[in-house]
Every structure is written in C-alpha cells, then in structure tokens.
C-alpha cells in the first residue's frame, strides 16, 4: 500500500506524469468553465452570424481576432466549439466508465466470490461480448435507435444512449479485472475471519473484498475513459454519435472533414489535436498509475 504523501512525491518526481496531469487539468477546466470563459456560445443561434463562416485562425490573413482558431461553416468559433465539445466528450467518457464500472464490478465480484456455474456463466458471457467489437455493437444499437426515433428525440437522448451503449459494451474488462483480484483476495485469511463471525456473503464481498480490489479498478478506469472517448469520437465521426448542433470532439472533426479539401483545415485540425491531447494524457496517467500502484514494480519502499 502506498500513502497519499508518497503518492504525491512519486507524481512530482515524474515529468511525464506532471505533463500529462497539467494537460488533463487544463482540458477539464476548459470544458467545465466553458459557459463562463468561452468567447461565444456556439449553441445560441442569436450569437451566430453566417457572415462569419469559414474564417481562418486569427493570425492568418483574413482572420478575425474574435475567433482565435477561426470559424466553421455555420460561423461558430472553433475555440468555443472545442471548449463545449471537450465537455461533452468527457461527460460521455466518464459516464460510460461509471456504467462499465458498476456493471463490471458487481458481476466480477459475484463471479469471483461465488465461483461455480455462476462464474462460468458470467465469464463465458464476457468472452462472447469481448469477441464482438464494441464499435460494431454500438453501430448496430445506435443505427437502430436513430432509425426508430425522429431526429429531435435522437438529439435529446444521444448523450444518454452513447453512455449506455459504450458502458454496456465494455463491462467485461472491469468484470475480468475485478474477478481475478477477488480470486486472489478471497483465499486470504481476513475473509475467513469475516466468515467466522457469520457475516453474510454480500457484506463480505462489498465491505471486505471490494476495497482491496480497487487499485487495478482505478488503473483501468483511467484508461477506459480514454477508450470511451475514442469510441464516442469514432461513432460521432461516422455520424452515429452526437448531432452536429451539440457537437462532441468527434462530431467536430467530422463536420470539419467536409471542408478540409476546400482549404479550411482548421475546422478539423484543432478538435483533432485536442482529442489526441486528451486521450494521450489519460493513457499516460493510466500507465503511470499502474506502475506506481503495482507493488511488484515497486522495490525497497513501502
């Protein structure tokens, strides 16, 4: 186990971790504070002017200093759309991971602790689910959903649908991680000590075993947020994710992609850079966490 101060010390001595942490912090702040600091609200039709469309970044000839990173085809400032879009991407990423974690931890705990046919059943189910690509399942589900409802309803519920679809499709990763930790933990004598006093299985699982399996859960959570953001971006890029009037980073890249050959490269390039920075920083932090929390890699200190 590692104390918080040791954890902080490790963090501050690792330039990669600090860099990734700062990038992530800036992006999160930018997204959360978007309504306050964005130069423009891209969802407010009153603030948009079609005359401002496809303006290049401010430092280019023809640029406007109101729009630092230029504007898109509807006259929305790319910087503002990125700020709002990052928020939506993060919301979907975190939301999907919460769904994954709740499902995965519950099923993983039950499978690992109960064992027997329940375990076999749940793990075969996980195998089947993992053998189907997440993207494929999401495409089918979202295509059905967008066909079944009209565009307005779809736009209203798109966030929730994306969270649910990505969340449900990826639970086996959590379930497998938790199950393997549970198999290790349940052999330990503190679990027997809890059984000796007659604690019901439910309380042993959630109160004793779960807190000891959270380290790997924390690590995969970080990486899974990055993964979920990428899946959402791919779906949006394919036109199955967020509608263009409430764009995530993926839908911004898609809407800009149409203009890339007419020379308006900024509409797609800047959201793409932000997406890369976001996913990369999450993955780097996840890798760093795994190294720090894995006692096998940690020597000589405790």
């Amino acid at each position: 186990m590692i104390s918080f101060s040791a954890f902080l010390k490790r963090f501050l001595s690792d330039p990669v971790a600090i860099g990734a942490g700062i990038v992530l912090l800036v992006l999160v702040l930018m997204a959360v504070l978007a309504p306050l600091i964005a130069p423009q609200n891209p969802y407010d039709p009153l603030q948009l002017d079609i005359m401002d469309s496809e303006m290049p970044p401010a430092w280019k000839p023809g640029g406007d200093e109101r729009f630092l990173l230029g504007t898109d085809a509807q006259g929305r400032g790319v910087l503002s759309t990125i700020m709002y879009g990052t928020g939506i991407s993060l919301l979907i990423g975190v939301g999907a991971v919460i769904v994954q974690a709740v499902l995965g931890i519950t099923l993983g705990l039950i499978a690992g602790y109960k064992g027997g046919w329940i375990d076999s059943f749940l793990m075969r189910l996980a195998d089947i689910q993992l053998s189907l690509s997440t993207l494929m399942m999401a495409i089918i589900a979202l295509a059905l959903f967008s066909a079944a409802f009209d565009a307005n309803t779809y736009a209203d519920y798109a966030i929730i649908m994306l969270i649910l679809v990505i969340g449900i499709a990826e639970w086996p990763k959590f379930a497998r991680t938790v199950r393997s930790s549970v198999l290790g933990e349940k052999k330990k004598e503190y679990v027997d000590a809890a059984r000796v006093i007659g604690l019901p299985a439910r309380r042993i699982m959630w109160g004793h075993i779960l807190p000891n399996t959270l380290t790997p859960v924390l690590v995969i959570s970080t990486i899974q947020v990055a993964e979920a953001i990428m899946i959402e971006a791919s779906l949006s890029f394919l036109g199955l994710g967020m509608p263009t009037d409430r764009p995530s980073l993926g839908s911004l890249i898609r809407s800009g992609f149409e203009f890339i050959f007419s020379g308006s490269w900024w509409i797609t390039l800047f959201p793409a850079l932000v997406l890369i920075a976001l996913v990369l920083s999450l993955n780097l932090l996840g890798d760093w966490l795994r190294d720090v929390l894995n006692p096998k890699l940690r020597r000589g200190e405790d």
Partner: protein, 322 residues
Amino acid sequence: MTQPIVETRGLEMRFALPTHFLSREKPVLHALNGVDVSIQPGESFCVVGESGCGKTTLGRAIMGLLAPSAGEILFRDQRIDTMDERMRKPIRAEMQMVFQNPYASLNPRRNVFDTLAEPIRHLLPDTPAAEVREQVESVLAATGCDPSWQRRLPHEFSGGQRQRIAIARALVTNPAFIVADEPISALDVSIQAQILNLLTDLQADRGLTYLFITHDLSVVEHFGSRVAVMYLGQVMELAETQAIFAQPKHPYTRLLLEAIPKLEGGSFDKPRTPGELPDPVNLPVGCPFAPRCPLADARCRAERPKLRTLANGTQAACHHTE
C-alpha cells in the same frame, strides 16, 4: 467426564477434485476420515500432524468454514453444523479463531478499531456504541496492544503486533472457545514465546478453551493438556500430553518425536529412509501409516485399525500396541 464444550462425531470431509468435464473419473480427496474428538472446557487441546493430515480442515469444519460431508459437530451438546444462521449467531460469539498468517488475517484497508468492532457490531448488535469502544479498548489492553493503535492500519505493525491484534479480534466477543491454527509458526523465534505466553495468560484470566493446531511437538509439550496426533485425515493417537511424550504408543507418534531436532544433537546421525505420504485420493485399504511403518504386517495392510483405549488411558489406532 464433564460435558464437553466441543465434540465431533464421525466427522468426514471429502473434496471433489477438479477434473476435465468429460473425464469419467471423479477423484475425491479424503481430508477427514471419521474423526471423533471431544474437547473439555478449560483445556488446551492440541492437534498435531504433518501437512495434509487434516488438522486445519478439522479446525475449519468446527468453525463452520467448511461443511462436513458426514458426521456431527456439537457445541455444548447442540448440533451446530446443520444449524441455520439465525440460531447459530449467538454461538458464533462463543467460538472464535486465530489464523496462521498475521499478514493475511487482517484486512489491509481497515484500521484496528474497525477490525475489532466488527464482530461485536455483527454478533451483538444491541451493544451501544460507547460500550463497543470500551470493549475494544479493554481487549486491546488485555492482549498487550497500545490503545493508540486503534486508528492505524495493519501495515504499520510488525508480525508479532499483528498477531496480538488478531488475538484481540478473536476475544472481543468474549468467547469461551478458540481455534488457534498454527498461530506462531509464521512468527520469528523471539516473538513466538511472547505470543505463547499471551495465550497462556489469556486462558488463565478468561477460562478459555483452545483447540491448538500445530506441527511442532515441542510447542505441544509446553502448551497442551491433551493431544491428538493426526495422519491422513485420521486420529492415530489421542492422549494426555505427559503420556504421549513419556510413552508414545503409536509408531507414527514415535516417528514424529524422533524427528524433533534436539539441542543436545546426535539424533540426526543415523540416516533415515525416505517416507512419503500415500496419495490422499487413493487411500490404502488398511492403516494409512502402514507403508512407512516398521511394524506393519499383512493385517495392517488389510484392515484399518480403530481407535481403542489402552491400559494407561491413551487411545491409539494401531494393531500392534498393547
């Protein structure tokens, strides 16, 4: 004889071994083969034997961690192995366990107070919070733990300190009977004496009854009032401690006694023939010790000896003891 506090009658434990699902054979491991022990209040009943003899299985079955395949387990004449949880709850407060490995028996994420309060909160839910605190503190004091340890986590303590905390947890509901499964074998030599003394003192203060499981006969000689020597799931010899050390009746007991290294030296000078445990999956028909026994004859290989009482009160399962 007074009423025994814990008794087992014909206890059997069989584990099905994992096999390929198409395999026709269903191998079964016999961990306990008809074990009858009765433990008197206030005594330190020791169970000795080598790995695979079933001593830990016996302790875990009595504590309800394993369900017996056959036989009965009684606590003060009440049958507990088939009792439902609601009925069993008050009995659980009377029976507690101390485990071998103090590094695994305390939940690493719980502080000492929470670990100790849990048995009271679950088994005696009517205890007011103030009294829980009081009880935890008094039991910590009784086991030589500092009251300031309560808010600390297990990894801050040494092995000996952790074992004291584990003993405190076992005592917190004020039990009458404690199963101690190799409680000192994971500890350093200089700490073992501390823990053994603690167990002796606690027994004197609280009138505890111990079922003490160990592989170390020298500890038994010091600590036990009666001893059961087990081999491959069976009791081979059961006697008063003095009797077993003065006059070991079973050849296996004698082998165990000879194997103890002596401080005077000299007993390892003659080479010994390798002895191996028979496969517990395919137990021999006769006496399980026969393959290693110098006295074994045709009868031993054909007929399993029953535990019978000898003239000096010792019970032994051997055809060749008088």
